[in-house]
Amino acid sequence: MSNERELDGIFPRALSFLRSKFSPMTVFWLLIVSILVLPIILFLAVAFTPKLLDQGPQWFTFSSFKAAADPYFLRAIWHSFLLGVISAIAATAIALGVAWIVLRTSASSRKIWNLSIFALLLAPSYLIALGWERIFERAGVLNIVGIDLPQVRDLLYGPVGIGAILTFKGIPFAYLVISNAMRGLGEEFEQAVRVHGGSKIQAFKMMATLLLPALWSGVAIVFAESISDFGVASQLASPGRFSVATFTLYRSVMSIPVSFPLCAAISIILLALVVLALLAQAKALRGRSFRVLSGRTRPITRRELSRLSSLGANSAIYGLLFITLGIPVFGAISASMIQGLGTVISNYQFNFDNYIRVIQSPLLRAPLLFSAEAALITASVAVVLAAVSSKMLVSTKNGAGKKLLDFFLLAAVGLPGIVFAIGYIFAYNLPIAQRYGFHLYGTVALLVLAYIATALPSTTRSLVGNMNQFQESLSEACRVHGFSAIKTWIAVVLPLISRPLLAAWCLTYCGTLLELPVSQILYPPGRAPLAVGIDRALGNYDFGGGTAMEVFAIISALMVVALAFSLYEYLAPTGWKQLGKAR
């Protein structure tokens, strides 16, 4: 928008040059640089120049790369990469299928899915992993009912188990992205396939191809989430001796003495792989257009499934829900409703003691409110920034800026949160910043900025699939009829992405409410966010209490999501809502 230079005689031109320097885009870039680029760069710089941030004696060195090139680390990085790729592709493929069933067919299970999706998003990976463990562990549920599956157990504690859980965890992200885009895709392109002799399957393939930008976004998000996931890795990877990069990163951050240079070097290698993924994406989409949404877009008709296919579709959805939601719920129940350390051995007793205790405890209320407030602000700001960033990512114009943004957005997710948070300390705890009265470090503001930066990548990607869809003539028509770029945005783009924006908002809210690594490192003294409290409870043998808090947080988040969607249903103009609605 800002790069649209305006011409209005010579004088005003000089003026507009000035104006372009202080355009909203300048603010946007300033913000991106300060919350995303600077922390990442500073953190990575430590690999070469530890002395810069007092992390070692050398001003310039490659020694940390030598350390990072250790086969053990390389293997871990490679594992992470493979896991990331596999879980990303698997999650995206499953999500595509689910989105198709939910949005394009009359399968009755679709309503339940729509309700569950955010619960899925909220399920912390440790609960998912815990649920699985509770079932398969020695003396787990299966064992108690007399089934012993040591092989399955071994699988669970290895790449297969981690991969599977990362996939399940990735599905809701991928689903949000894909379903958003699918809503913007009318039926005409599939009809054209079938009219020209293509089968249902070919029509499905055509639909999938037209969703490619969204599919790639889905892959990118899940990939990045997977390689930076710590919950699953720590629950399952370590005992199984299957090393992954986050774990090694975490280890080098947590070990004493801490070695940030090494950690940065590993991160750089990891990011090199991310760049590969990015290049693959660019190559796959180059030159092609996916602008499918216009005034002529035809609403889709839900496919009436035969009884058999309906059964198939429903069992697929229910099965998936059972696995992705049922198991963590089981994990949560087993952890929070059973006294002791949450075991299912024989004469356990369920009770709500933990819930009663937690709900009365001041340790829940204040942090929950604090986190909710922070999540609210984060989600609202992140969504605005994400809308701008995603617009930029799909624009055909600004080359360098776009690539930079693309990279840093992926880097921010590719780096585990804790590492990212350390970057924040490097950037905002600089003595010189403080000398100039720039007291951001240790404030709620900085924490929220870091939350925003953490959320921005996923939020942005979740919109990319949609931003790619509008035919340019929709905005052009608005400009031509007398509206400025900003008004055009509000009048045309905003309504068309209103639903995706809402979903992105909810996604961010949910993600931020229980965010742990950044919260830990950056929370202002004395104001611990909820996740930190939960982590401490879990760390202090209070599994029951911790999980109960977690459950309360999840329920509160679901209520916020439900509220947000109901408000949308009531307040949004009809035209906004009917986009992507089936006939």
């Binding site: 720590s234 370590s238 004493i256 804790i418 403080q434 007291h439 003294p525 401490r536 760390g539």
Partner: protein, 322 residues
């Protein structure tokens, strides 16, 4: 820099909240508490190194303090008026780099007595009887676990002997979990039947199941020879502002009082289950009796000696054991 009128307390202990509140109540000095577990806490401090934000660091384990001291980051101070008992005297560093208000033991051997017999020695644990039954913490993640390895080095006479023993355990099917709580969870869910954890964690587990018995899960704790003493350490930032240092000194003084220890041992849970180093203070009621020093089971390790090789040992552990 910010909140210059409050003491910046970085603590990894449950009871720090209560202690801080009592301190403020007593002295009127507000406390800004950053409560995290040891790992993130130290990571944060390291990242902040070129512009330190903490006034007081307080956590279990002396090695981090020793490392900080070796890096000349600490203010040496001896709290006024503290009446140390014998162990307290022994644990207090000659350098005065930090205060030790109490200690736990590393490790308590928690075993499920419904499933396995009581182990009698480290060699016993490596025997066929305990094949596949034992679990320990990962020293890279769990702060207090490194001193456990350091204890082996001291007891067995060197790094290689320690490595040999750990490898033997691993050959005997020993599993590694993140930290105390995870190891204990594994024990109570039957994944393992012997867990090597910090004594406070082990005792907590034992107590929980004593109060609410569950068939098939009857954790009990024992201490093998040797068991390493794990001091709780409180250090003051040598580069902090005058105000911080003053407040920190007052805080150190306060922690080393019996009043403070009373607060710390009020709970019957987790970190509170430690043994005070002050004369006349008893541990929390749930705490089992400490193995006596005289029995020869307990040993002390020199944190300054072992702090320097911590990275190397952890690296080895990650690559070969975890």
């Amino acid at each position: 820099a910010h909140a210059a009128d409050a003491l910046q307390l970085y603590a990894a202990l449950d009871y720090s909240t209560d202690v801080a509140a009592a301190f403020t109540a007593k002295t009127g000095i507000p406390v800004n508490l950053t409560a995290l577990s040891t790992g993130p806490l130290l990571a944060k401090m390291t990242a902040e190194k070129n512009n330190p934000q903490w006034g007081v660091y307080w956590a279990d384990g002396a090695e981090p303090c020793a490392a900080l001291d070796l890096d000349k980051q600490l203010l040496h101070y001896k709290s006024k008026g503290a009446h140390l008992n014998a162990i307290g005297v022994q644990l207090a560093p000659k350098t005065m780099a930090y205060q030790v208000p109490g200690f736990t033991e590393m490790v308590g051997v928690v075993y499920n007595s419904s499933k396995v017999r009581k182990p009698t020695s480290w060699d016993d644990l490596a025997s066929a009887d305990f094949k596949g039954q034992v679990g320990m913490n990962n020293p890279s993640i769990s702060g207090p676990t490194y001193p456990f390895l350091a204890g082996f080095m001291q007891q067995l006479g060197g790094i290689d002997a320690m490595k040999a023993y750990i490898l033997k355990m691993k050959g005997n099917g020993m599993r590694v979990f993140d930290k105390n709580s995870k190891t204990m969870a594994a024990l109570t869910t039957g994944v393992i039947n012997v867990g090597l954890v910090q004594s406070s964690s082990g005792i907590t587990t034992v107590n929980i199941y004593k109060n609410k018995p569950v068939t098939g899960v009857t954790p009990a704790i024992t201490f093998l020879s040797k068991t390493t003493v794990l001091p709780s350490c409180l250090a003051i930032d040598g580069r902090a502002s005058v105000f911080q240092q003053d407040a920190a000194k007052k805080f150190a003084d306060f922690v080393m009082t019996t009043d403070a220890v009373a607060i710390m041992t009020k709970s019957n849970f987790g970190d509170s289950l430690f043994w005070p180093t002050l004369v006349g203070r008893n541990p929390a009621p749930g705490t089992s009796t400490m193995p006596s020093i005289a029995s020869g089971i307990v040993q002390f390790v020199d944190p300054y000696k072992y702090a320097s090789i911590q990275g190397e040992i952890q690296d080895w552990f990650t690559k070969n054991i975890a």
